[in-house]
Amino acid sequence: MQPKMRHMLLVLSLLFPLFACNAGAEALPAGDEIAHRINARNEGEMVSRLVTMVMTDRGGTERVRETKSFRKYFGKEKRTVIFYLSPANIKDTAFLTYDYPETDRDDDQWLYIPAARKVRRISASDRGDYFLGTDLTYEDIRKEAKVGVEDYSWKTFGEETIDGHRCFLVEEIPVSDKTAKELGYGKVQSWVDAEIWMVRQAKFWDVAGNPLKTTQFMDIKPIQDIWTSHRLISENHKTGHKTEFIFKDVDYSRNVKDELFTEDGLRRGF
């Protein structure tokens, strides 16, 4: 081989991965598009389910709480109620929340304390506050399987396979320091299933850039044609605290009565 030729081949071989990369990047959907497709998914008008919450501290001690949970849309307003079934000392405690579509309107929350026979209205939580002793924030819970399109700038930067499913790798950076502070996240990376547009895994960093937590959405299967995760694990890397949600008896078709989402409903139980 001529030295010149060899030289050219060498240059080409060095450049090739670059071309390959660019070609791949063009094929990936834009970050915003992915976010919109996630949020366009059907999540049902109402749902009832048994939720087991297993919280584990870094020493390995567990707290297991069985709950029955209902969610229903009233127009664009989302109402959720959680009834605690066990352990015995918090049985019948119930938590109700109204999540309004208006961004400037705070949520309303109530807790029924059976030992005091009182329903107490609780002031709205911040988006970054943790939800009932779990590793998920109120914003995480509120969004369920959806994402905050307007809170982050979205960027797709690759593809990876999670449990045999092709996923787009998306990076989300909060749009402002204020939003980052509200959410408690400085950066998020999500692995979004390329077929069913569900997040299968998300990694979170705190506002100072330290790794914060990893959340995995597992056991995803269709229930009444709605793709539903039946197991969620969120692990905080700083505190070593871990939360597992196990969803059972998920039902999108069963009618959920409006009365459940009232103060009286909290007292009466489901």
């Binding site: 501290d57 918090i90 030992a115 209205r121």
Partner: protein
């Protein structure tokens, strides 16, 4: 020393050494370099925990509880405003917000574990519910808003004294860090933040907290030691220069110094032993000790060379070594024993290792003195030392020493009377000795951190934490209202103890939560009497709290709880009272088979290692004395001679105790090591004097005074330079900025001075007065006869004494 016709083993050995000078010098240099090669691998252990053994039950328990409750030693920024509104002024509160935001961005700070008025929420009960809102929502811009926050704090007992001063003049930003080993850099970042923050008139900013103190302490001492050690080296070189006024007389002892330092720190690095805070003092001590032996060797060498110009250079060296190896080996062995006893006394690990590596250094100094110095001398041509003019024509130093010594043997009773009086005063001082320690007292009073600590502890409940861990036998045991009542009573008791500003436990939160579901009524600030309600209150709290919010107060299955008492002083003497009274209360009023309490936390751990100071000190000193005595007795083949060598040790240690007692210097971490070190160093003076008196009494001629007149200009002069090198070396520590180093340097200097004076004044005076046979004094009838012939006046005094 007598010369036998047949070469002794020592002579053989030193002939061999001087026969292979190049090889031995080369081996010496290579050994030194290879030991030094390990030094860059030295690791640091700056933590307070390094003072307590890893397997000490107090530390093990604290570490377990640290794991359960996630407790750490935090960094604290105090914002102090002595103005009429205190910190509740819009501008000051905005500063709190700004600083909190910036602290969260400091590398190594856990942004989720930064607590301040800007991060905390107010929990109040309303007519139909409970309002949880940030104190700074919105960030106050008017005095009315600032006043509202003050009113909220005034109605929220949990934050009073811990987050906001009870008189509202101060508030804290408390930050936990991720990696304690990086606390030094973190402290610097905090200080830069404070420096770069625009000043607000009337507002003071301070950085303190146990994390900051221990983080900064090492840096503080380290910087100081790196400044001082070269000065010690220069001072000692100057002393050598004056003592010998020759190039090699100045350089060779410095090589021994380098070898000693390399051996000690090289083996430390190779053995994986970390460099502790107190290891900083080791270099100065090694420098001071390593020159002692070469001073004696070279004094003898130059003296011999001048007295015997007929001898070959090699003969001068061999004879020097043959005549000096024994007393030098003896002194090295006794010093070695002093340090080893520090190691064997089983005290705090940093002190044990201090003793061990000082002992290794001493052995290296001995080896280099015995082999390297004679070999190296062989490689240079002999040059008379202008400073050493022999025993009969002493220089001004020799004359000065002789004047002191001659005065002592002329007035032995006076000397002994003075010694006795000083000893009694020293003994009285010893009874006034106090054992105390406070980390903050390691800093000078004009250091920002010292002022910060005092300022914060004056207005807040305290930044020194004592943890009381409550354990019940069953899961969710702490939902039991009776148990909570007992914990509450315990907290009230703890708050009566000296220095305790306040206590916090989960009980306080339960009361606050109970009040908040009862329309914020004051009478509802109590422990509910329903187990289930307590469980439900925790669930209620979790509606707005972090999953690990109660981590510091209660464990995950509600079996163990922690009461944190804030104490405004770290003084051992204060906290000992707190711990002793608390132990008594727990035993008599609290502990039962179903619920027990144990002490933990920084204050308790520090108490446990500090209380060993006294025992460690007296055990190591006792060991040093006994072993040194036995060693000296064995070397001199006489128990009494061994005891006699301890005269400078007793004198110096007793006087130093006196100085400490009367001047209020504590027996603390740094100062507690002085006795064992002083023993190791002082006994050298005793051994040299004893050995020389004995030699002169056995081999010399003339009266005691005549014989002594040979001792003072030679051995006495060498002892003087030995004393000068060491006391100037240690004395340099007195210009340190670190108070314990100043005190340590001062005390050892006093000990060296006393030892020197004791060896050239008290010991000859005692010898004259008591005429001990172990020093070679003959039986009285023989001597009277001999001395009557030689010295009628003296014999009369002896006869009178006999009467």
């Amino acid at each position: 020393m007598s010369q036998s016709t047949r070469p002794s083993k020592a002579e053989d050995f030193f002939s061999w050494v001087t026969g292979h000078p190049k090889t031995l010098v080369l081996v010496g240099v290579l050994l030194m370099l290879s030991a030094a090669a390990f030094i860059p691998g030295l690791t640091k252990d700056t933590s307070s925990d390094s003072f307590i053994a890893k397997d000490n039950p107090a530390r093990v328990y604290r570490d377990q509880m640290k794991e359960v409750f996630g407790l750490s030693d935090p960094f604290v920024i105090a914002i102090i405003n002595h103005g009429p509104t205190g910190v509740f002024h819009p501008e000051t509160l905005q500063l709190v917000q700004r600083l909190t935001d910036q602290v969260k961005k400091i590398p190594n700070v856990d942004p989720d574990r930064v607590v301040s008025l800007a991060t905390e929420s107010n929990i109040v009960g309303t007519a139909d519910g409970m309002l949880v809102s940030k104190f700074f929502d919105p960030l106050p811009t008017t005095q009315i808003q600032a006043d509202a926050i003050r009113a909220a704090i005034a109605d929220f007992p949990l934050y009073q004294g811990s987050l906001v001063a009870r008189d509202f003049t101060a508030t804290l930003i408390v930050a936990e860090i991720l990696d304690e080993m990086k606390s030094e850099t973190t402290y610097n970042a905090f200080m830069t933040l404070i420096k770069d923050t625009p000043q607000i008139p009337g507002v003071e900013l301070h950085v303190a907290g146990e994390g900051a103190i221990s983080g900064y302490l090492f840096n503080y001492i380290d910087q100081d030691a790196s400044r001082l050690n070269p000065i010690v080296g220069i001072v000692i070189t100057l002393v050598l220069c004056i003592a010998f006024r020759t190039l090699w007389g100045t350089l060779l002892p410095n090589v021994v110094v380098l070898a000693t330092v390399a051996a000690a720190f090289g083996t430390m690095a190779a053995g994986g032993v970390p460099f502790y805070v107190i290891t900083n003092g080791l270099a100065s001590i090694l420098i001071g000790m390593a020159v002692a032996e070469p001073i004696h060797v070279l004094t003898h060498y130059y003296g011999l060379g001048r007295a015997h110009p007929d001898l070959s250079h090699r003969d001068v060296i061999v004879r020097t070594m043959t005549e000096t190896w024994k007393p030098l080996t003896n002194t090295i062995l006794t010093t070695f024993v002093g340090f080893i006893s520090l190691y064997l006394s089983g005290g705090m690990p940093p002190m044990q290792y201090f003793g061990l590596f000082a002992a290794i250094g001493v052995m290296a100094a001995w080896l280099y003195g015995m082999v390297f110095i004679p070999a190296a001398l062989m490689l240079v041509t002999f040059k008379l030392s202008p400073a050493i003019r022999g025993e009969h024509t002493p220089d001004r130093y020799g004359r000065a020493v002789a004047a002191l010594g001659n005065f002592a043997i002329r007035r032995p009773r006076l000397i002994l009377a003075v010694t006795l009086i000083i000893s009694i005063i020293g003994g009285m001082g010893a009874f006034r000795l106090t054992i105390d320690e406070a980390t903050i007292e390691n800093f000078q009073r004009n250091e920002p951190i010292y002022y910060a600590d005092k300022a914060i502890n004056q207005v807040m409940d305290g930044t020194n934490y004592l943890d009381i861990v409550i354990e019940t036998q069953i899961k969710e045991g702490l939902f039991n209202p009776d148990y909570l009542q007992r914990i509450d009573a315990l907290q009230r008791f703890v708050e009566t103890l000296p220095g305790v500003g306040g206590t916090t436990s989960v009980v306080d939160y339960i009361k606050q939560m109970h009040r908040s579901i009862n329309e914020n009524r004051h009478e509802a600030y109590r422990i509910p009497d329903n187990r289930d309600l307590i469980a439900q209150l925790f669930l209620l709290y979790s509606a707005s709290g972090d999953p690990t919010d109660f981590e510091e107060e209660i464990d995950y299955d509600y079996r163990r709880a922690n009461i944190r008492a804030s104490i405004n002083t770290s003084y051992y003497t204060n906290n000992r009272i707190v711990i002793e009274k608390l132990d008594q209360y727990l035993a008599e009023h609290f502990n039962t088979s179903d619920m027990t309490a144990h002490l933990s936390g920084r204050v308790n751990v520090n108490h446990h290692w500090l209380k060993t100071i006294a025992t460690t000190h007296f055990v190591s000193e006792g060991l040093a004395l006994v072993i040194s005595w036995l060693m000296a007795a064995w070397l001199l083949r006489s128990l009494s001679a061994g005891l006699f060598t301890l005269v400078p040790v007793f004198a110096s240690v007793l006087l130093v105790y006196g100085v400490m007692g009367f001047s209020g210097i504590w027996l603390a971490v740094g100062t507690s090591m002085f006795a064992a070190i002083a023993t190791g160093l002082s006994i050298d003076f005793g051994v040299h004097t004893t050995q020389r008196i004995r030699d002169l009494m056995e081999s010399g001629t003339g009266t005691f005074e005549e014989r002594m007149s040979q001792l003072f200009p030679s051995t006495g002069r060498a002892l003087f330079f030995n004393f000068a090198a060491m006391s100037l070396g240690f004395g340099t520590l007195m210009i340190s900025v670190v108070p314990p180093l100043v005190r340590f340097g001062g005390l050892v200097t006093v000990a060296m001075t006393v030892s020197f004076l004791a060896s050239i004044m008290v010991m000859p005076a005692m010898a004259k007065l008591f005429r001990p046979r172990f020093l070679g004094f003959r039986t009285l009838p023989e001597e009277i006869q001999q001395e009557a012939h030689l010295e009628p006046a003296y014999s009369i005094s002896i006869v009178e004494e006999r009467k």
